[in-house]
Protein backbone atom coordinates (compact mmCIF):
# COMPACT_ATOMS: atom_id res chain seq x y z
CA UNK A 1 0.00 0.00 0.00
CA UNK A 2 1.61 3.25 -1.09
CA UNK A 3 2.11 5.86 1.60
CA UNK A 4 0.20 9.08 1.31
CA UNK A 5 1.77 12.51 0.80
CA UNK A 6 4.30 13.55 3.42
CA UNK A 7 5.35 17.09 2.81
CA UNK A 8 5.89 19.37 -0.11
CA UNK A 9 6.10 23.13 -0.35
CA UNK A 10 2.42 23.83 0.10
CA UNK A 11 2.26 21.44 3.06
CA UNK A 12 4.69 23.60 4.98
CA UNK A 13 2.85 26.76 3.92
CA UNK A 14 -0.21 25.17 5.50
CA UNK A 15 1.78 24.45 8.66
CA UNK A 16 2.54 28.16 8.76
CA UNK A 17 -1.16 28.93 8.36
CA UNK A 18 -1.95 26.52 11.20
CA UNK A 19 0.72 28.24 13.31
CA UNK A 20 -0.88 31.65 12.81
CA UNK A 21 -4.49 30.53 13.21
CA UNK A 22 -3.81 28.39 16.31
CA UNK A 23 -2.09 31.37 17.87
CA UNK A 24 -5.09 33.57 17.18
CA UNK A 25 -7.52 30.99 18.56
CA UNK A 26 -5.86 29.47 21.63
CA UNK A 27 -3.33 32.19 22.27
CA UNK A 28 -6.17 34.74 22.39
CA UNK A 29 -8.23 32.38 24.52
CA UNK A 30 -5.45 32.27 27.11
CA UNK A 31 -4.99 36.05 27.16
CA UNK A 32 -8.58 37.04 27.89
CA UNK A 33 -7.61 37.26 31.55
CA UNK A 34 -6.21 40.72 30.86
CA UNK A 35 -9.75 42.03 30.54
CA UNK A 36 -10.89 40.36 33.72
CA UNK A 37 -10.08 43.24 36.09
CA UNK A 38 -11.43 45.83 33.64
CA UNK A 39 -14.77 44.06 33.27
CA UNK A 40 -15.18 43.44 37.00
CA UNK A 41 -14.73 47.13 37.66
CA UNK A 42 -16.72 48.53 34.72
CA UNK A 43 -19.72 46.23 34.91
CA UNK A 44 -19.56 45.88 38.70
CA UNK A 45 -20.06 42.13 38.49
CA UNK A 46 -18.55 39.27 40.44
CA UNK A 47 -15.43 37.43 39.39
CA UNK A 48 -17.44 34.31 38.70
CA UNK A 49 -19.86 36.14 36.39
CA UNK A 50 -16.95 37.55 34.39
CA UNK A 51 -15.12 34.24 34.12
CA UNK A 52 -18.17 32.78 32.38
CA UNK A 53 -17.20 34.81 29.31
CA UNK A 54 -14.11 32.68 28.74
CA UNK A 55 -15.94 29.49 29.70
CA UNK A 56 -18.64 30.18 27.11
CA UNK A 57 -16.05 30.93 24.42
CA UNK A 58 -14.12 27.71 25.11
CA UNK A 59 -17.29 25.64 25.27
CA UNK A 60 -18.59 27.19 22.05
CA UNK A 61 -15.33 26.40 20.23
CA UNK A 62 -15.57 22.77 21.20
CA UNK A 63 -19.33 22.49 20.79
CA UNK A 64 -19.35 23.86 17.26
CA UNK A 65 -16.36 21.79 16.14
CA UNK A 66 -18.46 18.90 14.77
CA UNK A 67 -20.55 21.42 12.87
CA UNK A 68 -17.41 22.97 11.40
CA UNK A 69 -16.15 19.54 10.44
CA UNK A 70 -19.47 18.58 8.84
CA UNK A 71 -19.58 21.82 6.83
CA UNK A 72 -16.09 21.07 5.53
CA UNK A 73 -17.18 17.65 4.36
CA UNK A 74 -20.27 19.10 2.71
CA UNK A 75 -18.72 22.23 1.29
CA UNK A 76 -15.25 23.68 1.12
CA UNK A 77 -12.85 23.88 4.06
CA UNK A 78 -11.57 27.18 2.74
CA UNK A 79 -14.97 28.90 2.97
CA UNK A 80 -15.61 27.44 6.42
CA UNK A 81 -12.32 28.67 7.89
CA UNK A 82 -12.60 32.10 6.30
CA UNK A 83 -16.14 32.44 7.66
CA UNK A 84 -14.92 31.30 11.06
CA UNK A 85 -12.21 33.93 11.02
CA UNK A 86 -14.74 36.63 10.17
CA UNK A 87 -17.03 35.48 12.99
CA UNK A 88 -14.19 35.38 15.51
CA UNK A 89 -13.24 38.94 14.62
CA UNK A 90 -16.87 40.08 14.54
CA UNK A 91 -17.42 38.76 18.06
CA UNK A 92 -14.70 40.98 19.49
CA UNK A 93 -15.70 43.98 17.37
CA UNK A 94 -19.29 43.76 18.60
CA UNK A 95 -18.07 43.18 22.15
CA UNK A 96 -16.34 46.55 22.08
CA UNK A 97 -19.80 48.14 22.00
CA UNK A 98 -21.21 46.10 24.88
CA UNK A 99 -23.29 47.87 27.48
CA UNK A 100 -24.00 44.91 29.73
CA UNK A 101 -22.48 41.59 30.66
CA UNK A 102 -25.02 39.63 28.62
CA UNK A 103 -23.73 41.36 25.49
CA UNK A 104 -20.25 40.06 26.27
CA UNK A 105 -21.56 36.52 26.80
CA UNK A 106 -23.20 36.64 23.38
CA UNK A 107 -20.42 38.36 21.42
CA UNK A 108 -17.10 37.44 23.05
CA UNK A 109 -18.57 34.13 24.15
CA UNK A 110 -20.89 32.62 21.58
CA UNK A 111 -20.01 34.41 18.32
CA UNK A 112 -16.25 34.30 18.77
CA UNK A 113 -16.42 30.73 20.09
CA UNK A 114 -18.48 29.68 17.08
CA UNK A 115 -15.92 31.30 14.79
CA UNK A 116 -13.10 29.43 16.53
CA UNK A 117 -15.02 26.18 16.22
CA UNK A 118 -15.23 26.69 12.45
CA UNK A 119 -11.50 27.36 12.29
CA UNK A 120 -9.61 24.91 14.46
CA UNK A 121 -10.69 21.42 13.45
CA UNK A 122 -10.85 22.22 9.71
CA UNK A 123 -7.34 23.73 9.83
CA UNK A 124 -5.93 20.74 11.72
CA UNK A 125 -7.48 18.21 9.36
CA UNK A 126 -6.51 20.21 6.27
CA UNK A 127 -2.89 20.22 7.41
CA UNK A 128 -2.95 16.51 8.23
CA UNK A 129 -4.10 15.84 4.70
CA UNK A 130 -0.67 16.83 3.46
CA UNK A 131 1.25 14.45 5.74
CA UNK A 132 1.30 10.81 6.70
CA UNK A 133 4.19 9.88 8.93
CA UNK A 134 5.15 13.45 9.67
CA UNK A 135 1.69 14.66 10.71
CA UNK A 136 2.73 14.80 14.36
CA UNK A 137 5.70 17.01 13.48
CA UNK A 138 3.50 19.27 11.37
CA UNK A 139 0.99 19.62 14.18
CA UNK A 140 3.72 20.08 16.78
CA UNK A 141 5.14 22.97 14.80
CA UNK A 142 1.69 24.33 14.03
CA UNK A 143 0.64 24.27 17.67
CA UNK A 144 3.88 25.76 18.99
CA UNK A 145 2.34 29.21 18.53
CA UNK A 146 -0.15 28.45 21.33
CA UNK A 147 2.52 28.76 23.98
CA UNK A 148 4.35 31.59 22.22
CA UNK A 149 1.28 33.73 21.77
CA UNK A 150 0.64 33.95 25.53
CA UNK A 151 4.06 35.63 25.79
CA UNK A 152 3.13 38.08 23.06
CA UNK A 153 -0.59 38.67 23.56
CA UNK A 154 -0.57 39.15 27.33
CA UNK A 155 1.73 42.19 27.37
CA UNK A 156 0.27 43.43 24.06
CA UNK A 157 -3.28 43.43 25.38
CA UNK A 158 -2.12 45.09 28.60
CA UNK A 159 -0.68 47.85 26.45
CA UNK A 160 -3.83 48.15 24.33
CA UNK A 161 -6.03 48.38 27.42
CA UNK A 162 -3.83 51.09 28.87
CA UNK A 163 -3.92 53.09 25.66
CA UNK A 164 -7.46 52.54 24.40
CA UNK A 165 -9.38 51.15 27.40
CA UNK A 166 -11.07 47.77 27.05
CA UNK A 167 -13.41 48.92 24.27
CA UNK A 168 -10.61 50.02 21.98
CA UNK A 169 -8.53 46.99 22.89
CA UNK A 170 -11.38 44.62 21.95
CA UNK A 171 -11.89 46.44 18.66
CA UNK A 172 -8.24 46.01 17.75
CA UNK A 173 -8.28 42.38 18.92
CA UNK A 174 -11.19 41.83 16.55
CA UNK A 175 -9.11 43.24 13.75
CA UNK A 176 -6.17 41.02 14.67
CA UNK A 177 -8.44 37.95 14.76
CA UNK A 178 -9.38 38.66 11.15
CA UNK A 179 -5.86 37.49 10.25
CA UNK A 180 -7.31 34.00 10.45
CA UNK A 181 -9.08 34.73 7.16
CA UNK A 182 -5.91 34.78 5.02
CA UNK A 183 -4.87 31.53 6.74
CA UNK A 184 -8.11 29.99 5.53
CA UNK A 185 -7.55 31.43 2.06
CA UNK A 186 -4.40 29.32 1.81
CA UNK A 187 -6.39 26.09 1.97
CA UNK A 188 -6.51 24.45 -1.44
CA UNK A 189 -8.62 21.57 -2.58
CA UNK A 190 -6.62 18.41 -2.36
CA UNK A 191 -6.77 15.60 -4.88
CA UNK A 192 -7.45 12.94 -2.26
CA UNK A 193 -10.59 11.00 -2.95
CA UNK A 194 -13.15 11.52 -0.27
CA UNK A 195 -15.72 8.97 0.68
CA UNK A 196 -19.27 10.26 0.08
CA UNK A 197 -19.67 12.81 2.83
CA UNK A 198 -22.21 12.10 5.50
CA UNK A 199 -23.14 15.29 7.23
CA UNK A 200 -23.16 14.50 10.94
CA UNK A 201 -20.92 11.43 10.87
CA UNK A 202 -22.81 9.88 13.76
CA UNK A 203 -21.91 6.44 12.50
CA UNK A 204 -18.61 6.60 14.36
CA UNK A 205 -20.52 6.81 17.59
CA UNK A 206 -21.46 3.18 17.63
CA UNK A 207 -17.95 1.92 17.05
CA UNK A 208 -16.17 0.80 20.17
CA UNK A 209 -12.63 1.95 19.32
CA UNK A 210 -13.84 5.51 18.70
CA UNK A 211 -15.83 5.51 21.92
CA UNK A 212 -12.80 4.16 23.78
CA UNK A 213 -10.66 6.92 22.34
CA UNK A 214 -13.23 9.58 23.24
CA UNK A 215 -13.51 8.30 26.80
CA UNK A 216 -9.74 8.42 27.18
CA UNK A 217 -9.42 11.92 25.69
CA UNK A 218 -12.27 13.19 27.90
CA UNK A 219 -10.39 11.95 30.95
CA UNK A 220 -7.21 13.64 29.66
CA UNK A 221 -9.10 16.90 29.36
CA UNK A 222 -10.45 16.60 32.89
CA UNK A 223 -6.96 16.49 34.30
CA UNK A 224 -4.76 18.30 31.82
CA UNK A 225 -5.83 21.89 32.54
CA UNK A 226 -5.82 21.68 36.34
CA UNK A 227 -2.22 22.89 36.72
CA UNK A 228 -2.88 25.82 34.35
CA UNK A 229 -5.80 26.82 36.55
CA UNK A 230 -4.35 26.10 39.99
CA UNK A 231 -0.54 26.08 39.79
CA UNK A 232 -0.17 29.75 40.62
CA UNK A 233 -2.52 29.38 43.57
CA UNK A 234 -0.66 26.25 44.72
CA UNK A 235 2.68 28.08 44.61
CA UNK A 236 1.27 31.01 46.58
CA UNK A 237 -0.45 28.60 48.98
CA UNK A 238 2.90 27.17 50.07
CA UNK A 239 4.39 30.62 50.45
CA UNK A 240 6.12 31.61 47.22
CA UNK A 241 5.76 35.20 46.03
CA UNK A 242 3.62 36.44 43.12
CA UNK A 243 6.68 36.83 40.92
CA UNK A 244 7.97 33.37 41.74
CA UNK A 245 4.57 31.89 40.92
CA UNK A 246 4.29 33.89 37.69
CA UNK A 247 7.78 32.78 36.69
CA UNK A 248 6.80 29.14 37.14
CA UNK A 249 3.87 29.65 34.76
CA UNK A 250 6.06 31.40 32.19
CA UNK A 251 8.67 28.66 32.09
CA UNK A 252 5.97 25.99 32.02
CA UNK A 253 4.63 27.74 28.94
CA UNK A 254 8.11 27.78 27.39
CA UNK A 255 8.69 24.05 27.94
CA UNK A 256 5.19 23.43 26.56
CA UNK A 257 6.31 24.90 23.22
CA UNK A 258 9.48 22.82 23.30
CA UNK A 259 7.55 19.67 24.15
CA UNK A 260 5.18 20.11 21.21
CA UNK A 261 7.96 20.49 18.68
CA UNK A 262 10.25 17.77 20.08
CA UNK A 263 7.40 15.29 20.40
CA UNK A 264 6.17 16.02 16.88
CA UNK A 265 9.67 15.64 15.46
CA UNK A 266 10.42 12.41 17.32
CA UNK A 267 7.02 10.89 16.50
CA UNK A 268 7.67 11.55 12.83
CA UNK A 269 10.80 9.37 12.99
CA UNK A 270 8.41 6.45 13.10
CA UNK A 271 10.27 4.41 15.72
CA UNK A 272 7.24 3.98 17.94
CA UNK A 273 3.55 3.65 17.28
CA UNK A 274 1.65 6.92 17.55
CA UNK A 275 -0.74 5.58 20.16
CA UNK A 276 2.16 4.28 22.27
CA UNK A 277 3.81 7.69 22.10
CA UNK A 278 0.54 9.29 23.22
CA UNK A 279 0.38 6.98 26.23
CA UNK A 280 4.03 7.63 27.06
CA UNK A 281 3.65 11.40 27.20
CA UNK A 282 0.23 11.35 28.84
CA UNK A 283 1.25 8.99 31.62
CA UNK A 284 4.35 11.06 32.30
CA UNK A 285 2.17 14.19 32.40
CA UNK A 286 -0.13 12.45 34.87
CA UNK A 287 2.80 11.45 37.06
CA UNK A 288 4.22 14.98 37.10
CA UNK A 289 0.83 16.48 37.92
CA UNK A 290 0.67 14.20 40.96
CA UNK A 291 4.22 15.17 41.88
CA UNK A 292 3.44 18.89 41.74
CA UNK A 293 1.75 19.27 45.15
CA UNK A 294 4.20 16.78 46.68
CA UNK A 295 7.17 18.79 45.42
CA UNK A 296 5.60 22.01 46.65
CA UNK A 297 5.29 20.50 50.11
CA UNK A 298 9.05 20.02 50.14
CA UNK A 299 9.24 23.82 50.36
CA UNK A 300 12.02 23.93 47.81
CA UNK A 301 11.47 26.34 44.90
CA UNK A 302 13.93 24.64 42.51
CA UNK A 303 12.17 21.31 43.03
CA UNK A 304 8.72 22.76 42.27
CA UNK A 305 10.15 24.61 39.28
CA UNK A 306 11.74 21.44 37.89
CA UNK A 307 8.56 19.39 38.21
CA UNK A 308 6.59 22.23 36.58
CA UNK A 309 9.05 22.33 33.67
CA UNK A 310 8.69 18.58 33.18
CA UNK A 311 4.89 18.84 33.36
CA UNK A 312 4.94 21.62 30.77
CA UNK A 313 7.15 19.61 28.41
CA UNK A 314 5.14 16.39 28.65
CA UNK A 315 1.81 18.24 28.51
CA UNK A 316 2.85 19.99 25.32
CA UNK A 317 4.29 16.76 23.91
CA UNK A 318 1.02 14.87 24.16
CA UNK A 319 -0.91 17.53 22.22
CA UNK A 320 1.13 16.89 19.07
CA UNK A 321 0.14 13.24 18.89
CA UNK A 322 -3.54 13.31 19.85
CA UNK A 323 -4.93 14.25 16.43
CA UNK A 324 -2.64 11.94 14.39
CA UNK A 325 -4.14 8.96 16.25
CA UNK A 326 -7.68 9.81 15.06
CA UNK A 327 -7.33 8.65 11.42
CA UNK A 328 -5.77 5.42 12.68
CA UNK A 329 -8.96 4.74 14.59
CA UNK A 330 -11.63 5.88 12.16
CA UNK A 331 -9.85 5.99 8.80
CA UNK A 332 -8.66 8.94 6.80
CA UNK A 333 -12.03 9.61 5.13
CA UNK A 334 -13.81 10.09 8.43
CA UNK A 335 -10.99 11.96 10.09
CA UNK A 336 -12.63 15.37 9.70
CA UNK A 337 -15.95 14.42 11.24
CA UNK A 338 -14.36 12.35 13.98
CA UNK A 339 -11.98 15.14 14.99
CA UNK A 340 -14.93 17.48 15.33
CA UNK A 341 -16.79 15.00 17.49
CA UNK A 342 -13.72 14.40 19.67
CA UNK A 343 -13.54 18.13 20.37
CA UNK A 344 -17.17 18.17 21.42
CA UNK A 345 -16.96 15.13 23.69
CA UNK A 346 -13.67 16.13 25.30
CA UNK A 347 -15.20 19.47 26.25
CA UNK A 348 -17.19 17.60 28.90
CA UNK A 349 -13.90 16.70 30.55
CA UNK A 350 -12.74 20.28 30.43
CA UNK A 351 -16.02 21.61 31.83
CA UNK A 352 -16.01 19.17 34.72
CA UNK A 353 -12.32 19.03 35.51
CA UNK A 354 -11.59 22.55 36.71
CA UNK A 355 -14.66 22.94 38.95
CA UNK A 356 -14.04 19.48 40.41
CA UNK A 357 -10.49 20.40 41.35
CA UNK A 358 -11.74 23.66 42.84
CA UNK A 359 -14.32 21.74 44.83
CA UNK A 360 -11.71 19.30 46.16
CA UNK A 361 -9.56 22.19 47.24
CA UNK A 362 -12.46 23.84 49.08
CA UNK A 363 -13.35 20.59 50.81
CA UNK A 364 -9.86 19.47 51.82
CA UNK A 365 -8.25 22.89 52.34
CA UNK A 366 -5.24 22.26 50.10
CA UNK A 367 -4.44 21.30 46.53
CA UNK A 368 -3.10 17.79 47.12
CA UNK A 369 -6.38 16.03 46.36
CA UNK A 370 -7.09 18.23 43.29
CA UNK A 371 -3.77 17.49 41.64
CA UNK A 372 -3.69 13.80 42.56
CA UNK A 373 -7.18 13.31 41.11
CA UNK A 374 -6.24 15.27 37.98
CA UNK A 375 -3.10 13.19 37.43
CA UNK A 376 -5.08 10.02 38.06
CA UNK A 377 -7.56 10.99 35.34
CA UNK A 378 -4.69 11.06 32.86
CA UNK A 379 -3.34 7.71 34.04
CA UNK A 380 -6.82 6.19 33.92
CA UNK A 381 -7.24 7.49 30.37
CA UNK A 382 -3.98 5.77 29.41
CA UNK A 383 -5.25 2.47 30.83
CA UNK A 384 -8.43 2.84 28.79
CA UNK A 385 -6.38 3.40 25.63
CA UNK A 386 -4.65 0.05 26.16
CA UNK A 387 -8.01 -1.64 25.51
CA UNK A 388 -7.98 -0.44 21.88
CA UNK A 389 -7.96 -3.39 19.50
CA UNK A 390 -4.51 -4.52 18.35
CA UNK A 391 -2.95 -2.16 20.86
CA UNK A 392 -0.01 -4.39 21.62
CA UNK A 393 1.09 -4.66 18.00
CA UNK A 394 4.44 -3.16 17.33
CA UNK A 395 3.74 -1.37 14.07
CA UNK A 396 1.14 1.22 13.13
CA UNK A 397 -1.52 0.05 10.67
CA UNK A 398 -0.81 1.38 7.15
CA UNK A 399 -2.57 4.67 6.51
CA UNK A 400 -6.05 5.11 5.08
CA UNK A 401 -6.95 1.47 4.48
CA UNK A 402 -6.67 -0.56 7.63
CA UNK A 403 -7.76 1.03 10.83
CA UNK A 404 -8.25 -0.25 14.31
CA UNK A 405 -11.58 -1.54 13.14
CA UNK A 406 -10.13 -4.42 11.16
Amino acid sequence: MAEGPDGGVWAWVMVGALFVSSGFVFGLMRSLGVFFVEFVQYFEESAQAISWITSIAVAAQQFFSPMGAALCNAYDARIVVMTGGCLAGLGFILASQATCLAHLYLTMGVITGLGWGLVFTPMVVSVMGYFTRRSALALGLGFSSIGLSSFIFNPLFQLLVEKYAWRGALLIMGGLSLNIVPCGALIRRQKQSKAPAKVGKLSVFVERPFLTFCAAITLFNAGYFVPYVHLVALSRHVGFSEYQAAFIMSVTGATDILGRVVSGWSAARGCMRMVHILILWTSLTGVFIILLPLSSMSGSYPVLLTVSLLYGFCGGALTSVVFPVVPQIVGVERMMGASGLVQLIESIGGLLGAPLSGFLKDVTGNYLASFVVAGSFLLLGCLILTTLPRFFQCRDPPPSSETFLG
Binding site: E162, Y164, A165, R167, L171, G174, N179, P182, A185
Partner: protein, 235 residues
Protein backbone atom coordinates in the same frame (compact mmCIF):
# COMPACT_ATOMS: atom_id res chain seq x y z
CA UNK B 1 5.34 55.32 72.56
CA UNK B 2 8.04 53.33 74.30
CA UNK B 3 11.76 53.14 73.64
CA UNK B 4 14.11 50.47 74.97
CA UNK B 5 17.91 50.73 74.66
CA UNK B 6 20.43 48.13 75.78
CA UNK B 7 23.16 50.72 76.22
CA UNK B 8 26.78 50.60 75.09
CA UNK B 9 30.14 49.60 76.64
CA UNK B 10 30.01 52.00 79.59
CA UNK B 11 26.75 50.98 81.21
CA UNK B 12 26.07 54.12 83.21
CA UNK B 13 23.61 53.64 86.04
CA UNK B 14 21.59 56.69 84.90
CA UNK B 15 21.20 58.49 81.61
CA UNK B 16 19.16 61.51 80.47
CA UNK B 17 16.28 60.72 78.09
CA UNK B 18 13.91 63.10 76.33
CA UNK B 19 11.42 63.28 73.45
CA UNK B 20 11.57 65.37 70.30
CA UNK B 21 8.89 66.21 67.78
CA UNK B 22 9.91 67.31 64.27
CA UNK B 23 13.36 68.14 65.67
CA UNK B 24 12.15 70.22 68.61
CA UNK B 25 12.39 69.11 72.20
CA UNK B 26 9.09 68.54 73.94
CA UNK B 27 8.42 67.90 77.63
CA UNK B 28 11.19 67.99 80.18
CA UNK B 29 14.24 65.79 80.27
CA UNK B 30 14.11 62.68 82.46
CA UNK B 31 16.67 60.63 84.26
CA UNK B 32 16.41 57.06 83.03
CA UNK B 33 17.81 54.31 85.30
CA UNK B 34 19.48 51.13 84.06
CA UNK B 35 17.06 48.26 84.79
CA UNK B 36 17.65 44.64 83.76
CA UNK B 37 20.49 45.71 81.49
CA UNK B 38 18.33 48.18 79.56
CA UNK B 39 17.05 51.75 79.63
CA UNK B 40 13.29 52.27 79.25
CA UNK B 41 11.72 55.57 78.22
CA UNK B 42 7.96 55.86 77.85
CA UNK B 43 6.06 58.86 76.50
CA UNK B 44 2.31 59.41 76.42
CA UNK B 45 1.00 61.89 73.86
CA UNK B 46 -2.54 63.05 73.16
CA UNK B 47 -3.55 62.99 69.53
CA UNK B 48 -5.72 66.04 69.11
CA UNK B 49 -5.61 66.63 65.40
CA UNK B 50 -3.44 67.04 62.40
CA UNK B 51 -0.89 68.99 64.47
CA UNK B 52 -0.23 65.87 66.50
CA UNK B 53 1.15 64.07 63.43
CA UNK B 54 4.83 64.20 62.61
CA UNK B 55 8.24 62.68 63.32
CA UNK B 56 8.81 61.76 66.95
CA UNK B 57 12.16 60.69 68.36
CA UNK B 58 13.29 59.52 71.74
CA UNK B 59 16.86 60.37 72.62
CA UNK B 60 19.14 58.71 75.19
CA UNK B 61 21.89 61.12 76.30
CA UNK B 62 23.89 61.91 73.22
CA UNK B 63 24.29 58.26 72.26
CA UNK B 64 21.10 56.79 70.83
CA UNK B 65 18.07 58.06 68.98
CA UNK B 66 15.02 56.11 67.87
CA UNK B 67 12.55 57.63 65.40
CA UNK B 68 8.81 57.17 65.04
CA UNK B 69 6.64 58.55 62.28
CA UNK B 70 3.08 59.26 63.30
CA UNK B 71 0.88 59.63 60.26
CA UNK B 72 -2.54 58.82 58.92
CA UNK B 73 -2.68 55.47 57.04
CA UNK B 74 -1.25 55.80 53.55
CA UNK B 75 -3.57 55.18 50.63
CA UNK B 76 -3.31 51.71 49.08
CA UNK B 77 -1.92 51.21 45.58
CA UNK B 78 -3.69 53.44 43.09
CA UNK B 79 -3.21 53.20 39.35
CA UNK B 80 -0.36 55.44 38.37
CA UNK B 81 -1.17 55.09 34.66
CA UNK B 82 -4.05 57.23 33.35
CA UNK B 83 -7.46 55.56 33.24
CA UNK B 84 -8.82 55.83 29.73
CA UNK B 85 -12.44 56.03 28.67
CA UNK B 86 -14.57 57.29 25.82
CA UNK B 87 -16.59 60.46 25.36
CA UNK B 88 -20.22 59.64 26.14
CA UNK B 89 -19.20 56.52 28.05
CA UNK B 90 -18.71 56.24 31.82
CA UNK B 91 -15.63 55.51 33.89
CA UNK B 92 -15.17 53.90 37.28
CA UNK B 93 -12.16 54.92 39.38
CA UNK B 94 -11.38 53.29 42.70
CA UNK B 95 -9.28 53.79 45.81
CA UNK B 96 -8.54 51.21 48.45
CA UNK B 97 -7.17 51.27 51.99
CA UNK B 98 -5.27 47.98 52.36
CA UNK B 99 -6.55 45.39 54.83
CA UNK B 100 -4.57 45.74 58.10
CA UNK B 101 -4.88 49.53 58.02
CA UNK B 102 -7.86 51.05 59.84
CA UNK B 103 -10.89 51.97 57.77
CA UNK B 104 -11.67 55.65 57.33
CA UNK B 105 -14.84 57.13 58.74
CA UNK B 106 -15.83 58.40 55.30
CA UNK B 107 -14.54 58.98 51.78
CA UNK B 108 -14.44 62.21 49.78
CA UNK B 109 -13.69 62.68 46.10
CA UNK B 110 -12.22 65.81 44.54
CA UNK B 111 -11.59 67.02 41.03
CA UNK B 112 -8.38 68.96 40.46
CA UNK B 113 -8.95 72.51 39.25
CA UNK B 114 -5.56 73.93 38.48
CA UNK B 115 -3.79 73.73 41.83
CA UNK B 116 -7.08 73.59 43.69
CA UNK B 117 -9.31 70.69 44.59
CA UNK B 118 -13.06 70.91 44.17
CA UNK B 119 -15.18 68.55 46.23
CA UNK B 120 -17.47 66.37 44.13
CA UNK B 121 -21.04 66.39 45.38
CA UNK B 122 -22.65 63.24 44.00
CA UNK B 123 -26.00 64.04 45.58
CA UNK B 124 -26.26 67.32 43.69
CA UNK B 125 -25.53 65.73 40.29
CA UNK B 126 -26.69 62.10 40.45
CA UNK B 127 -26.85 61.70 36.67
CA UNK B 128 -23.18 62.61 36.38
CA UNK B 129 -21.47 61.30 39.51
CA UNK B 130 -21.98 58.29 41.71
CA UNK B 131 -19.87 57.53 44.76
CA UNK B 132 -20.01 54.11 46.35
CA UNK B 133 -18.00 53.75 49.55
CA UNK B 134 -17.80 50.62 51.63
CA UNK B 135 -15.35 50.46 54.52
CA UNK B 136 -11.88 50.41 53.04
CA UNK B 137 -12.92 50.82 49.40
CA UNK B 138 -14.51 53.64 47.46
CA UNK B 139 -15.40 54.04 43.80
CA UNK B 140 -16.37 57.11 41.81
CA UNK B 141 -18.40 56.64 38.64
CA UNK B 142 -18.44 59.53 36.18
CA UNK B 143 -21.09 59.30 33.46
CA UNK B 144 -21.51 60.99 30.09
CA UNK B 145 -17.87 61.84 29.86
CA UNK B 146 -16.69 64.93 28.04
CA UNK B 147 -13.21 66.30 27.49
CA UNK B 148 -13.80 68.62 30.45
CA UNK B 149 -13.97 65.57 32.71
CA UNK B 150 -10.40 64.61 31.86
CA UNK B 151 -7.70 65.43 34.39
CA UNK B 152 -6.70 64.54 37.91
CA UNK B 153 -9.04 63.27 40.59
CA UNK B 154 -8.29 62.85 44.27
CA UNK B 155 -9.81 60.33 46.63
CA UNK B 156 -9.64 61.19 50.31
CA UNK B 157 -9.88 58.67 53.13
CA UNK B 158 -11.16 60.76 56.04
CA UNK B 159 -9.84 59.99 59.53
CA UNK B 160 -10.28 61.97 62.73
CA UNK B 161 -6.71 63.19 62.65
CA UNK B 162 -6.30 63.84 58.93
CA UNK B 163 -7.30 62.82 55.42
CA UNK B 164 -5.14 60.55 53.27
CA UNK B 165 -5.18 61.41 49.59
CA UNK B 166 -4.64 59.35 46.48
CA UNK B 167 -4.33 60.78 42.98
CA UNK B 168 -5.69 59.30 39.77
CA UNK B 169 -5.67 60.55 36.22
CA UNK B 170 -8.57 60.20 33.79
CA UNK B 171 -8.14 60.53 30.04
CA UNK B 172 -11.08 60.92 27.68
CA UNK B 173 -10.68 59.83 24.05
CA UNK B 174 -12.98 59.39 21.09
CA UNK B 175 -13.56 56.20 19.16
CA UNK B 176 -11.48 57.54 16.30
CA UNK B 177 -8.33 56.71 18.22
CA UNK B 178 -8.54 52.91 18.23
CA UNK B 179 -10.33 53.02 14.89
CA UNK B 180 -7.15 54.08 13.10
CA UNK B 181 -5.06 50.99 13.96
CA UNK B 182 -8.17 48.85 13.43
CA UNK B 183 -8.67 50.05 9.89
CA UNK B 184 -4.97 49.58 9.19
CA UNK B 185 -5.26 45.94 10.28
CA UNK B 186 -8.41 45.33 8.21
CA UNK B 187 -6.67 46.75 5.15
CA UNK B 188 -3.72 44.44 5.79
CA UNK B 189 -6.05 41.42 5.99
CA UNK B 190 -7.85 42.35 2.77
CA UNK B 191 -4.56 42.85 0.95
CA UNK B 192 -3.27 39.45 2.13
CA UNK B 193 -6.44 37.68 1.05
CA UNK B 194 -6.36 39.40 -2.34
CA UNK B 195 -2.70 38.49 -2.86
CA UNK B 196 -3.31 34.85 -1.89
CA UNK B 197 -6.35 34.46 -4.15
CA UNK B 198 -4.66 36.21 -7.08
CA UNK B 199 -1.54 34.08 -6.70
CA UNK B 200 -3.68 30.95 -6.78
CA UNK B 201 -5.54 32.07 -9.90
CA UNK B 202 -2.21 32.78 -11.57
CA UNK B 203 -0.74 29.38 -10.73
CA UNK B 204 -3.97 27.66 -11.81
CA UNK B 205 -3.78 29.39 -15.18
CA UNK B 206 -0.21 28.21 -15.54
CA UNK B 207 -1.16 24.62 -14.72
CA UNK B 208 -4.20 24.78 -17.05
CA UNK B 209 -2.13 25.92 -20.03
CA UNK B 210 0.49 23.35 -19.01
CA UNK B 211 -2.05 20.53 -18.82
CA UNK B 212 -3.61 21.61 -22.11
CA UNK B 213 -0.20 21.12 -23.69
CA UNK B 214 0.22 17.67 -22.12
CA UNK B 215 -3.32 16.74 -23.13
CA UNK B 216 -2.52 17.67 -26.70
CA UNK B 217 0.60 15.53 -26.55
CA UNK B 218 -1.37 12.63 -25.09
CA UNK B 219 -3.96 12.84 -27.80
CA UNK B 220 -1.28 12.82 -30.46
CA UNK B 221 0.35 9.78 -28.88
CA UNK B 222 -2.88 7.88 -28.37
CA UNK B 223 -3.93 8.78 -31.89
CA UNK B 224 -0.75 7.06 -33.02
CA UNK B 225 -1.48 4.03 -30.85
CA UNK B 226 -5.04 3.79 -32.05
CA UNK B 227 -4.04 3.83 -35.65
CA UNK B 228 -1.50 1.10 -34.96
CA UNK B 229 -4.12 -1.04 -33.20
CA UNK B 230 -6.55 -0.42 -36.01
CA UNK B 231 -3.93 -1.49 -38.40
CA UNK B 232 -3.42 -4.63 -36.35
CA UNK B 233 -7.09 -5.40 -36.32
CA UNK B 234 -7.36 -4.91 -39.93
CA UNK B 235 -4.60 -7.31 -40.33
Amino acid sequence: MECTWTGNQNKLPNITGYWKKDGNEIDSRLTVPLENEQYNLKGVFDIVGEESLGNYSCVFGSEAKIEFVLAAPQMGEVRDKPIVSYAGDSVVIACKMEEPKPKPSTWHWYKANGTDKALIDAAAEPHRYQIHSEGGKSTLTVRNLTQADAGFYYCGAVYLISTSLGRLEVRVITFLEPLKPFIAIVVEVLVLVAVILLYERKSKKKSITGSQKTKKEKRENSGGEESSSVRQRKV
